[in-house]
């Protein structure tokens, strides 16, 4: 009976949430150069819970219990580190202040903005945010990001060293700074989300965890008056729409399913509704960011009851604006898919050929996969098969390969029915 036991008495997700909150609280009060100490104190508090709660039961207010233990542990560790009575007294005072829900959330936002600091690499920002704010363990991060555990640990050490040596503080960024830092934080959150969202072999549970964590970080930014900008809500909308399809995008054979092939009844209605609400909240002010446009595109897919009811014309317009605002070869490739629906495969193929030369898309399996669909629509199954073979060679994960294998098999059986046109 013990194996699948629910955490009776322990609020589900309490430890991960508390870890992020407590590290933020301790770092917020002791300074960014004491991140390691904050993490150690929190880790010790969780270990203490692990030792005591099985015997003594879960305390009436488990969060408050963890808070007290982590705070006391932090003071112990500080005493070991320094003999300066003034420093200890100051830390004691800082840590004695009770945790108000509002200051707790602000501490988390500040730590997230710190993790999104431009002096760190984009991937290090994701790893740091997962570790410090989202309460993930190093091994979990490695599994979720398909990385080596030692490499993740090393990245964390280096990132924290950078923070210490550059004297990056946890103080609230100046208004001018905030603009840039928030943009970087949104990129970090979305990168995190995509790491979880991009289908990979096995381990779907941990990847969904990463998506949920990214959404929670977005919600933190949305709840803080300093960072609750329209683009934050737009990003939340975008993530909610994508998250609504998490369960539906893998087929029975473990293959990735394209939007048209997904069973729309399996899309998570609650997440779509949340996305629509966020989109409403994003529609404030006159500034339209790329997050708004991407969320708008995702919403049109999400609200279509059937795949032939998708409003491709509006999607194409949104892609046009997106490309004006933020030109990127991937957006242009996606636009070509919409273009095929509106103007036909010929025009789309023309576009695909133009973006094909872009170095960012070299060996990108979706480029060849899109080309294959267009060639197939134009009736050139030999060219379609050739493109699928190239896509298959560039695919990196098992679900991607399974998707392409299924398409190759489909084309093959079509070819049997109608003899291929050969030059």
């Amino acid at each position: 009976m013990s194996d699948a036991a629910p955490a009776s008495g322990v609020v589900d997700g309490l430890f991960r949430r508390s870890a992020g909150r407590l590290v933020s609280m301790l770092a917020g009060r002791l300074g960014a150069d004491r991140l390691d100490l904050a993490e150690e104190a929190v880790q010790d508090a969780l270990l203490r819970a692990l030792e005591l709660w099985p015997h003594r039961g879960v305390p009436a207010d488990p969060e408050a219990w963890l808070h007290t233990v982590a705070r006391n542990r932090a003071l112990d560790l500080l005493r070991r580190e320094t003999r300066s009575a003034t420093l200890l007294a100051a830390a004691d005072r800082e840590l004695a202040a009770p945790a108000e829900p509002t200051t707790a959330a602000r501490d988390e936002v500040r730590l997230l903005l710190l993790a999104a600091h431009p002096s760190l690499t984009p991937r290090a920002r994701v790893v740091l945010a997962l570790k410090l704010v989202a309460g993930f363990g190093t091994r979990e991060i490695a599994r979720a990001l398909f990385a080596d555990e030692a490499a993740v640990a090393q990245m964390l050490v280096r990132a924290k060293r950078t923070i210490r040596s550059s004297g990056i503080a946890l103080a609230p960024p100046t208004p001018a700074d905030l603009e840039q830092r928030l943009a970087s934080a949104l990129d970090t959150v979305y990168l995190m989300f995509n790491e979880g969202h991009s289908a990979s072999e096995g381990e779907l549970a941990i990847r969904e965890d990463v998506c949920v964590a990214a959404i929670r970080l977005g919600e933190l930014l949305a709840a803080d008056p300093d960072t609750a900008r329209p683009e934050v809500f737009a990003l939340l909308a975008l993530m909610s729409f994508h998250a609504s399809r998490l369960a539906a995008r893998i087929g029975p054979a473990g293959e990735l399913l394209t939007l048209e092939r997904q069973d729309r009844s399996r899309w998570d209605r609650a997440r779509i509704d949340a996305g629509l609400r966020y989109l409403d909240q994003a529609a404030v002010g006159s500034r339209v960011t790329h997050w708004h446009l991407e969320a708008g595109i995702a919403s049109l897919h999400a609200v279509a009851k059937r795949s032939d009811e998708v409003d491709w014309r509006t999607i194409l317009q949104l892609y046009d604006r997106l490309l004006e605002l933020r030109p990127s070869p991937i957006a242009r490739l996606n636009r070509a898919v919409a273009l095929a629906r509106v103007e036909g495969p010929e025009a789309a193929l023309e576009e695909v050929r133009v973006v094909a030369g872009h170095p960012a898309l070299a060996n990108y399996y979706l480029l060849a996969a899109v080309e294959a669909e267009l060639q197939s629509a134009l009736g050139d199954s030999a060219a379609a098969r050739d493109a699928l073979a190239r896509a298959r060679a560039g695919a990196r994960t098992a679900p991607e390969r399974a998707l392409l294998d299924a398409r190759i098999a489909e084309l093959g059986s079509q070819a049997e029915r109608e003899p291929p046109s050969r030059e």
């Binding site: 013990s2 270990l47 692990l50 709660w53 099985p54 015997h55 879960v58 309460g135 993930f136």
Partner: protein
């Protein structure tokens, strides 16, 4: 009903380097297990012993010796216990065999000798 003491031993390393989520899952399993004992009326009490401190008191040749421990040199230390009521040894052992603690250490099941049972 006969009473049994379940002594939980472990080497203290099992819980090191766990992620918050892993720690929470383990606590959940222990709590579910002890809730089960409670619901069936087996559980009388449970305590955790301090790991870091401990004294062994002995007397040899008239002189008292107090040493720190037992730990360090002992591989598995008693970290805590559960006090149970069960009709017989078989039942007590069965209750122990469901415990998540077996993933991290051992359980020693001992019946408490009661005066009226000789």
């Amino acid at each position: 009903m006969p009473k049994f003491l379940m002594l939980a031993r472990d080497d203290g390393s099992a819980f090191a380097a766990l992620s918050p989520k892993e720690a929470e899952a383990i606590i959940g399993r222990y709590i579910a297990w002890s809730n089960g004992l409670q619901e069936k009326g087996h559980l009388l009490g449970s305590e955790k012993l301090h790991d870091e401190t401990g004294k062994t008191v002995s007397r040899s040749g008239g002189s008292l010796a107090v040493t720190d421990g037992p730990y360090a040199e002992v591989k598995e230390v008693v970290g805590g216990f559960w006090l149970l009521e069960a009709p017989d040894y078989d039942t007590a052992v069965r209750l122990a065999s469901d415990s998540p603690h077996l993933d991290f250490g051992t359980l020693e099941v001992r019946q408490i000798h009661e005066l009226d049972r000789g």
